[in-house]
C-alpha cells in the first residue's frame, strides 16, 4: 500500500510538471500577445518595452522563463501581466466561493442522485421509473450556463418570482444566511446535471447487484426487503458512485464550475481563469491550471485509496 501510494504521488508530481509545461507552451508563442507591449501601454518607447522585457525575463530562453514562473508561483510572488495583481492572492480570494459552490452542489447531487437512483431501481419498469429516466435524460442534456440563465430569469428577475438574489457571492463569515440564499440557485443548477447522471448509474448498478447470489442468500435467510436493499445491495452498488463522485468533485473544483461561476458572477477561481484566458494573461492561467490539476490528481489518488479500502478484493497493483 505504501509503495502504491508513493508511486501514485510521484506520478502525480510528474503530471503536474507536464501539465504546467504544456500550458506554458500553449501560451508562450501566441503572436500579438506580447505582455511587455501591453504593460507598457500605447505610448511606450522601444526602450520602455525593452526595460519591461528585461524585468519580466521575457528575453530568456523559454525553459528558463518557465522555471522562473514556476518559482515565483510557488513562493507566491507571481503577478498578472494585465492587472499586476498577485496571482496567488487572487486564487486564494476565489477559493471560498468555488469551494462553497462545489461542496454544496456536491452534497445535493450525491444525496439526490442516490435517492433518485434507489427509487427508480426499486420501481424499475413502472411509471415513476420512466418519469425519473425522462427527467434524468433532460437533466444531462441541458447546458449548465443556459439553465443558470433561465433560473435567474424565473426566480431572481421577477418572471414570475423575485425570491432569490440574482448572482454574486456573499462570504459565509459575513452573513451565513445571505451566503446560503445567494448560493441556493447556483448549487441546484450545478447539481441538476449530475443528479440525473448519478441516478442512472446507481439504478443500473443496483439492478446488476440484485441478481447476485449473495442477495438471494440474504433473502432466503428471511431478511426483510429493506434490510437486504440497504445492507447488501446498496452498499455494493455504491462503490462505483464513490469513484465517480471523487473524480467529478475534483473536476468541478478544478475548473468545470467555470460556467456556473460565470453565469452567477460568483468571482470564484473558475471565473478568474475564464477572465484571464480572455485577456491571454499567462501567469494567472498557469496558477489556476496548477491549482486545478492539483485537485484532479490529488482526488484521483484519494479515490484509488478509498476504493481499495471499500472493496478489499481490489488490491492496488
Amino acid at each position: 500500500m505504501i509503495a502504491f501510494l508513493a508511486r501514485r504521488l510521484i506520478g502525480a508530481v510528474l503530471v503536474l510538471i507536464a501539465v504546467s509545461f504544456i500550458t506554458y507552451l500553449i501560451f508562450i508563442k501566441i503572436p500579438g500577445g506580447d505582455p511587455a507591449q501591453r504593460i507598457a501601454g500605447r505610448t511606450a518607447t522601444d526602450a520602455n518595452i525593452a526595460d519591461i522585457r528585461a524585468k519580466l525575463h521575457l528575453d530568456d530562453p523559454f525553459y528558463a522563463q518557465y522555471w522562473g514562473m514556476m518559482q515565483s508561483l510557488f513562493n507566491g510572488s507571481l503577478k498578472s501581466y494585465a492587472s499586476q495583481l498577485n496571482v496567488v492572492n487572487e486564487i486564494k480570494k476565489g477559493i471560498p466561493a468555488t469551494l462553497s459552490l462545489c461542496i454544496g452542489a456536491g452534497i445535493i447531487w450525491l444525496s439526490f442522485g442516490i435517492l433518485v437512483g434507489v427509487i427508480s431501481a426499486v420501481t424499475a419498469g413502472r411509471a415513476s421509473d420512466r418519469l425519473i429516466t425522462v427527467f434524468a435524460l433532460i437533466g444531462i442534456s441541458m447546458p449548465v450556463f443556459w439553465l443558470g440563465l433561465i433560473a435567474r430569469y424565473f426566480f431572481a428577475q421577477g418572471h414570475p418570482f423575485a425570491l432569490l438574489p440574482d448572482g454574486e457571492y456573499v462570504p459565509l463569515t459575513t452573513n451565513p444566511w445571505q451566503w446560503f440564499v445567494h448560493l441556493l440557485m447556483p448549487w441546484w443548477v450545478l447539481a441538476v446535471l449530475f443528479i440525473g447522471f448519478y441516478g442512472r448509474v446507481l439504478r443500473s448498478n443496483i439492478l446488476d447487484t440484485i441478481n447476485e447470489d449473495y442477495v438471494r442468500t440474504a433473502k432466503a435467510k428471511g431478511l426483510s426487503r429493506n434490510t437486504v436493499l440497504a445492507k447488501h445491495v446498496l452498499r455494493n452498488s455504491m462503490i462505483p458512485i464513490v469513484t465517480l463522485f471523487g473524480l467529478d468533485f475534483a473536476a468541478v473544483v478544478g475548473g468545470s464550475a467555470i460556467l456556473t461561476e460565470t453565469v452567477f458572477n460568483l468571482h470564484g477561481v473558475g471565473q478568474y481563469a475564464a477572465e484571464s484566458t480572455q485577456n491571454l494573461d499567462l501567469p494567472p492561467i498557469m496558477g489556476v491550471t496548477i491549482y486545478a490539476t492539483f485537485f484532479i490528481v490529488f482526488f484521483s489518488v484519494l479515490v484509488d485509496v478509498l476504493y481499495a479500502w471499500l472493496d478489499p478484493r481490489i488490491r492496488p497493483t
Binding site: I30, S204, L207, N211, G254, I296
Partner: protein, 358 residues
C-alpha cells in the same frame, strides 16, 4: 466402458431435429439481432427521427431564409417595420408611447410564430435580425462542430486504442501516458486555453494553415481534449480481446498486426464505438456551447447556438427569447442523441436490456 447409443448425438443432429419441428434455422448476425431489438424500441427511434429532423431543418436554413423569412442571418433591420394582421409593427421599438402604452426604446419584437407570415417566427434580436433564421444557421455550425469533432475524436481514439492495446510495451506506455496527461488536465480549462489562443491568430505550423475565425479551431480543440474519454475504455476492451483465442488463431495463421487490428479487433469494438460516437456528439455540442458562451469557441461573424445564448444573456430581462430559444434547440438535439444512444446501447448489448427490463 461400452456405450449403448448407436448414433452419435452432435450439434448437427440438434439442428436437424429443430429444423424438423420449426423449419430451417437461419443464421442471424449480431447486427441483425441488434437491429431487430432497436426496431422495437419506438422511443429511441422517435428520438432518432427528432435528431434527423433537426439536422434536416438546419440544412434547409438557406431555403427557409430566402423563401419564408425573406432575410439573411446577418441582415440588420433597424428602423424597419413588418406587417402583422394588417398592422405595421417596428422590428425594434423606437421608444415612447404606442397606442397609449409606454414602450422602452431598443426592444426587439418578440416571437410572432405564424402571425406575421413566417417573418420573425422566434422574434428579432437587438439589431432586428430574424432569430429563427439565425437559429438555423447557428445550428449548422453547432452540428458541424459537434459531429465533426465526434468523428475526429472517435477516429483518433480508435487508432490510439488499437496501437496501445495491441502493442503494449513502449508504444502502449506512451499512448497511455498521453491519455493520462489530457485526462489530468481540467478539460474545460484546456479547451478554453487552446480555443482562445488559437482564435487570435489561427494555427500556422507543420504546414497546416487554419484561419483565426475558422470553425476548425473549436472542432479540433474539442476533439483533442475528449480523445482519452473514448480512447481509454476502448483500450481496455482491446486489452481483454487481445488475450482471446481467435486473435491467437489469427496470429498463428500468419496474419500481420495490421490485419489483426483491422479485421479482427476493430469489428469487435464496433458496437461500443457506435454508442460512444452517438453520445460524444451530444457531449460535444454541449462543450461547444460552453466554449462559445465563454468566447473561446465560434467567433463572430459566425454564430452557433452557444454564441446566440451568450449574445442573448444581457437582454434576458427585455428579450428573454434570445437566450431561451437557442437553449431549447440545444436541449432537444442533445436529448435526442442521448435517448437514441441509450437505445442503441440496449440493442447492441442485450445483457443490459434483459437486466433492465426484468
Amino acid at each position: 466402458m461400452a456405450t449403448e447409443s448407436t448414433t452419435d448425438f452432435t450439434l448437427d443432429t440438434a439442428a436437424e431435429l429443430a429444423s424438423e419441428e420449426h423449419g430451417a434455422i437461419e443464421g442471424k448476425s449480431p447486427w441483425l439481432l441488434a437491429w431487430r431489438r432497436l426496431r422495437r424500441n419506438y422511443v429511441a427511434l422517435g428520438f432518432l427521427l427528432l435528431f434527423v429532423a433537426i439536422v434536416v431543418m438546419c440544412a434547409l436554413a438557406p431555403v427557409y431564409a430566402s423563401q419564408i423569412a425573406g432575410t439573411g442571418p446577418n441582415e440588420v433591420h433597424l428602423g424597419e417595420t413588418f406587417t402583422r394582421d394588417g398592422e405595421q409593427i417596428p422590428v425594434v421599438s423606437k421608444g415612447g408611447f404606442v397606442n397609449g402604452k409606454f414602450v422602452a426604446g431598443g426592444i426587439p419584437v418578440g416571437p410572432q410564430l405564424w402571425h406575421a407570415g413566417g417573418k420573425y417566427v422566434f422574434g428579432a434580436d437587438n439589431l432586428g435580425r430574424d432569430v429563427a433564421v439565425r437559429l438555423l444557421y447557428g445550428g449548422i455550425n453547432s452540428l458541424k462542430i459537434g459531429i465533426g469533432s465526434a468523428l475526429i475524436c472517435t477516429i483518433f481514439a480508435i487508432l490510439f486504442a488499437l496501437l496501445a492495446g495491441y502493442y503494449g510495451g513502449s508504444v502502449g506506455w506512451i499512448i497511455s501516458r498521453f491519455f493520462d496527461l489530457i485526462w489530468a488536465f481540467p478539460v474545460l480549462l484546456l479547451a478554453i486555453a487552446l480555443g482562445t489562443a488559437l482564435s487570435i491568430n489561427g494555427f500556422h505550423h507543420f504546414g497546416i494553415n487554419i484561419e483565426a475565425g475558422s470553425l476548425w479551431i473549436p472542432t479540433l480543440v474539442i476533439s483533442f481534449v475528449l480523445i482519452p474519454y473514448v480512447g481509454r475504455p476502448l483500450r481496455g476492451q482491446i486489452l481483454s480481446l487481445r488475450e482471446k483465442e481467435f486473435i491467437e488463431a489469427a496470429t498463428a495463421q500468419g496474419a500481420s498486426p495490421f490485419r489483426v487490428m483491422l479485421s479482427e479487433l476493430t469489428p469487435n469494438i464496433a458496437s461500443s464505438v457506435l454508442v460512444f460516437f452517438t453520445l460524444i456528439i451530444a457531449s460535444n455540442i454541449l462543450t461547444e456551447a460552453g466554449l462559445s458562451f465563454l468566447g473561446a469557441g465560434v467567433q463572430a461573424p459566425n454564430a452557433s447556438w452557444g454564441t446566440l445564448i451568450a449574445d442573448g444573456q444581457d437582454r434576458i430581462v427585455t428579450a428573454p427569447w434570445l437566450a431561451i430559444i437557442p437553449g431549447i434547440a440545444i436541449v432537444l438535439t442533445v436529448l435526442s442523441l442521448n435517448v437514441f444512444g441509450d437505445g442503441l446501447r440496449d440493442a447492441l448489448d442485450p445483457r443490459s436490456k434483459v437486466r433492465i427490463e426484468r
